[in-house]
Structure formats: C-alpha cells, structure tokens
C-alpha cells in the first residue's frame, strides 16, 4: 500500500487490472504474444477510475486503487495515484488468474479499507474477461452490483452521498438506478475520459512503494478448463449515443464525426487556397507563428 487507506468514513475503491492493451494475436494460429510495454489499464477501467474520482470529489470521499496481479501491476496503481487516488493496494497473484481467484484477491484488499462505500470496476477486462469479476466481488461483499453503467449523474438532489447512474440494457434500453448505499459499480469503456495527471504528481508517484498483500490460494473447482480456443482481439466498445437523438445524429455520435470537436468543413478550392486554409488552421492551433 502506498499510503494508509485513509480515515474511517466513506471510501471508494476502484479495481484496476494490468492488462495487455495491444496483444499481438496470430490470425491463423491464435498464438498470442505479449509485450509488457503495452500493458496498462483498459478504457473501461480508466472510465471506472475517472467516475470514482468524480464521485469522490463530489462527496469528499477518498479513492483507493486496488489491483490483483504481479508486481508489474504496480504501474497502473502508480498511474492511479498520479491522477488523484489517495492510496493503492496490490494483492500479489499471478497474471492470468481466473475470475474467482482475482475476485477473492480483490476482496482481501477491500477488506483492509475502512469505511468502504463503493467499488468501481471496468465492466470486463480486455484479455479474456467476461465481466464476472465485479459480480464475484459483489458476492464476496454481499452487496448489490450495478453493471453496464454508461453514465453517472452527480448533480441531482438525490440525498447525502446518493446519486444516480444510467445503465445500458439489451435492445438499446436504458435504466436509471439510485445508489444510496454500498454497491459495486461496473462501467463500460469510453463513458469517461481519464484526466491527465499533473506533472508534479507523475514525478512524485513514479517510484511510490506499493507493499503487496499476499494473495489467497487459488480456489479449487470441480469445473476445470480442459481446452481454450485461440484468443481473438476484443471489439472496441463505444458508449451508446443519446437515445433522444435522430438516427443520423446517433450514427454521427457513434462514428465520432461532428461530436465534441470543431465540425469539419468540406471546401472545394484550388490547391493554393487549400494550402492557405491548412496554414490558417495550423496557426489557429498554434503550430505556426
């Protein structure tokens, strides 16, 4: 743990998995090659961390980052400390542990946090994840789980420490849940962009010591994996567009066109004029004096 888990009182834990973000998968054989330099947090875990920080800022609750994995996973915990987590805990288990084992390890970490109120997770991990870890964690804690979350509303008058979340259901439906007590929340990727860490925090936390907790033994199961098919790259999950938009606007939102940026312009002109326009734009962005 980088620092003590903070004073008793409502605390948010965010579970982060150190995972290969760019696995090299042979398209014929399915053989997977991992490069440790491309490991990090998935978009879903990043969204969970950002949501946790926002909830923490709204209610004045500290955020503790937890991870179950090998020593290399400390990197994602240090990143979490740099963006504002107040403490970090890693439970030492081998990479690629099965979901029940990971959840048990995370639960060991969560048990050390006083006043635990919320656990935020990504909905599923990038490697072979099926979204079961948040459910196992909720079962360990005996809490409810809100899964498939796509948004958090912290502005409503939902009461002290209460807020609402929106989750995605099948067939494009949405459901709004009120969270006013302990819960495990699992977020879809792309629902929040993780903030940039301030430079001083990056420098301060780059060598932060994270003392690992010993991991629990791997649980024995009557169910054993006897064959595993080849890995396949995971599809990138995009946040669902606002259902109130027109079909065209939803397509634009899904493709990223015309959304949250200066709308592109199409101009038909001579090459010299086109060059002038490009130069004007580069000047506007500050690339040219």
């Amino acid at each position: 743990m980088a620092e003590p888990a903070g004073p008793a009182g409502p605390t948010i834990a965010v579970a982060l998995k150190w995972v290969d973000l760019r696995p090299d998968i042979d398209r014929v054989t399915g053989a997977t090659h991992h490069d440790v330099r491309f490991f990090g947090c998935s978009a879903a875990d990043q969204a969970a961390l950002e949501h946790a920080l926002r909830i923490g800022e709204r209610f004045g609750w500290p955020v503790v980052a937890v991870s179950a994995g090998p020593a290399e996973a400390d990197a994602v915990l240090r990143d979490a400390l740099a963006v504002g987590a107040s403490a970090a805990i890693r439970v030492d288990i081998e990479a690629g542990a099965r979901s029940q084992h990971s959840a048990a390890a995370l639960h060991d970490a969560l048990a050390t946090i006083d006043g635990l109120r919320l656990v935020c997770c990504g909905d599923w991990s990038l490697d072979r994840g099926s979204g079961s870890v948040p459910a196992f964690v909720a079962a360990h804690l005996g809490w409810g789980q809100a899964l498939g979350l796509v948004g958090v509303d912290l502005d409503g008058d939902a009461g002290d420490g209460a807020f609402t979340v929106t989750r995605r259901l099948d067939q494009g439906r949405r459901e709004v849940l009120r969270i006013d007590g302990p819960a495990v929340l699992s977020f879809e990727g792309g629902t929040a962009e993780l903030r940039r860490a301030p430079l001083a925090a990056v420098l301060r936390t780059r060598d932060a010591a994270i003392v690992p907790l010993a991991g629990p033994p791997a649980p024995h199961h009557r169910l054993r994996v006897v064959h595993r098919g080849p890995d396949r790259p995971r599809a990138r999950v995009l946040p669902p567009p606002d259902a109130s938009l027109s079909p065209r606007e939803r397509i634009l939102a899904l493709t990223g066109a015309l959304v949250e940026r200066t709308p592109p312009r199409t101009v038909v002109c001579e090459p010299d004029d086109a060059a002038d326009l490009i130069l004007d734009q580069l000047r506007a962005w500050g690339y040219l004096d």
Binding site: R37, F38, P198, L199, V202, L203, A284
Partner: protein
Amino acid sequence: MSKPDRPQGAPAGTKRIPTPTEPDVDVIVVGAGPAGAAAALVLARAGRSVYLLERGPFPGSKNMYGGVIYGRILDTLIPRWWEEAPVQRWVTRRATMVMTPTQALTIDYRTAAWGEAPYNGATAFRPDFDAWLADHAVAAGATLVPSTTAVGLLRGDRGQIVGVQTDRPDGDLTARLVIACDGVNSFLAKEAGLYHHPEAEHFTLGAKEVLALPRDEIEKRFGLRGLEGADFEIIGCTPGIAGGGFIYTNLESVAVGVVLSLEDLKRSGKRPEELIAGLKAHPAVAPLVEGAELTEYSAHLIPEAGLHMMPELYGPGMLVAGDAGAFCLAAGIWLEGVNFAIGSGKVAGEVAVQALRAGDTSATFLGRYQDALTDTFALADHIKLQGAPALVMSDNVQRRYPELVCSLVESLFTVTNPTPKKGALRLAREAAKGSGVRLRDLARDGWAALRSYG
C-alpha cells in the same frame, strides 16, 4: 470559423517567468530517442539531475526507422554493448543496387568480420533499442518521464531558456539547461529561433513496410546464416522522384521502403505506398519479398540536406541534438542516422556537464558544443560531405546514371553472335547517348563526387 481548442500536445508558445534561482532539475532532455538517451546518460553519469521527457508511452514507441545502427559510437558509452543490445541481425552483407524499371546492377559486399565482435552495424527495432539505451540512462540516475510532451519553452528575465512547458496540468518544468532532441520537426528549436531552414526541399519522406517472413526463408533468400543480416541501398527505384530505396533484414521480417524528395513527391501526385509497391514488384526485389505478410506501415520525415539545413545548435540555455539538429547523414553510399544522433547527444551531454560545472549556460559558453562536434564525426562528416546530398538527389544520379550503368552492363554481357563484340568504349558511348548523359555532366559530377567523397 470558430477558434478551436488547442489539441493535446500542440505548441503552447514561449512563456516568460522570473528566472528560477533553484530550478527543478539541472537539465531537461526533450525526447528519449538515441540522441536524448545518450545525452541523459552522460549527464546522469556525471551526477547531474536529468529529466528525460518522452511523448510516447515508452522510448521508441513510434517505431519509425528503416536503417542500420552503426555501433562504434556506442563503444564510448557502453563498452561491449553488443553483448546486451537488442539487435535483430548483424549486417554482414552490404549491397548497393542501381536500378531502372527493368534492370538492376548490384555491388554486393560481404565480410565475416562484420559478423563478429565488435561488429560494424546491426538492424534493430527501435522500440527495443531506444528503450534499452534509455534504460541505461535511467540506471545511471536519469528520470524518464513518459507520455509527456514538451509544448513550449520557458524563458527567464533575460530571455534565456530556463525550462519547458509540458502538456500536463501544472506542467511547467524549470532547468539550468534544455537539450532539444525532439526530432526532425523540432518545435523547440524553432521556437527558440534557432531553425532557419525549414524549407520542404531539405526534407525527404521515408516510408517503410515491415514484411513478415519465416526466419529460414529470409536466410535462404538473402544468403544468410544465424544472425547475419543484409542491408540493400537502392538508387533509381523511385521513378520521377528523387530518392532511393532500402531493404533490411530483421530476424523474422524484412523492412522495405523508399526515401522520397518531398517536392518531387508532391509534383508527381503519387503516393509513397505506390512507390513501395513498385519497388516490391521489381524483378530484382520481388523474389526476396514475395509471399511476405505486411505487418507494419509507417512514414517519417528525414532531415536530408545535412549541413545546409542545420539549425543553430545552441542558444542561451539550450542545445540541439539528433534529428532536431539535422544530424542525419544521407550521402548516397553512406546512410546513417542513429549513430549521428547518439554522437551529437553524447557531445551535448558532455558540453552540458562542462557548462553546469562552470555555472555558465550562456550562448557564448555553449558555443563549445559546435566546436566539440566539429572534432567528432557528428559534424565533421557533415562538413566534409556537404555537397553529397545535392549530388545524390540530382537528376543525373537519380535517373540518367542508373540508365547509363545498367545499359552499359547489359550490352557488355549480352552475347550478340554472330555479330562481333563491340569495344567497351563504343558501348559506353552508346549507353551514354541512350541515357542522355553528356561527357561534361560526367566530368562535373565526377569532380563533385571527388570533392565530397575523396
């Protein structure tokens, strides 16, 4: 048009601050490529505090490179580097290929000596090589700060450079000295007012495909064994566009690419990948790469013009090294970059150590950098070969001489029985006439070559 927000990583412009009495660090090195890592290594070993800023998630993450790393300069930094450096193959076969669309003449040299320590050159993947070199700097005490882009300079009371702004919140960093190793399009050198020749004519575009092939297939096709590697430099393979081509062997892939004059490329309306496709389809190249699977495509600007485009290499509180200082030798038979980057970075580090020891980071003191560079290959070779880039990119060398040479060799080796053989001089005259080469062109270019390479 509404003014958009500045994108992440876009230049921020110079900011004035009171000159810090106690800066955050002795030196900020911007860019953890070979130049930056070498500078940081020298400084850290001298006991100086160094931040090595890298915009990618790790050094070398951009992975645009298609060349041979020549290791002699590494001897001075990391003795017996070859025992640990992450190389792909040791280049033991060096071929220079002169091409027309249907012909090729190859001067093919190979030596066993280059396959033994201390080796001559190696192919390598930059994500591996740059990370390895930066690891040495970190082990020596430098602080690597990845995923952080320097977007502007900080200037002190007297206008001297006292740090950089980064793209992180509260991202200003102050230092006694900044070493800009931020690549071919050095925003920092430009912002410092040191870059006076940004014209497109000084740059080429390098475009590269990495083609996967089984290791034994590469060794069979290129005549290699074990970790032996081949380096082909090609001229005449970019029709209508000044430039050249290359083929390098990695362990289980082959890098094939072209280097193209920007202005010619624009005029031609062609796309770089078309030219690589043409090179791969050439009868002399196709058997080497057929059946390979494309795994990467990338492109990158190259500071081609050498001495003629070099920025001022120092200013008050700042040194410039690597591609940012145009330390890339493109002189026809010699195409070298990483060794020049390491060489210039090493000298920058050494001069920075002297400046810090003297407590003087003025432009006057830092002028020693240029003097020191002149005493090494990093600048001396550029001075000596200053005429080479223009000669290599001339129409004669690019088009007419390959036609001349290939036609001459073809007519020499074509058996014309029952017609008697023509004399070599006559064949040469006919080939020269056919390719539009005049004797005075040959004399002029021969003299220019002698002055450059002699």
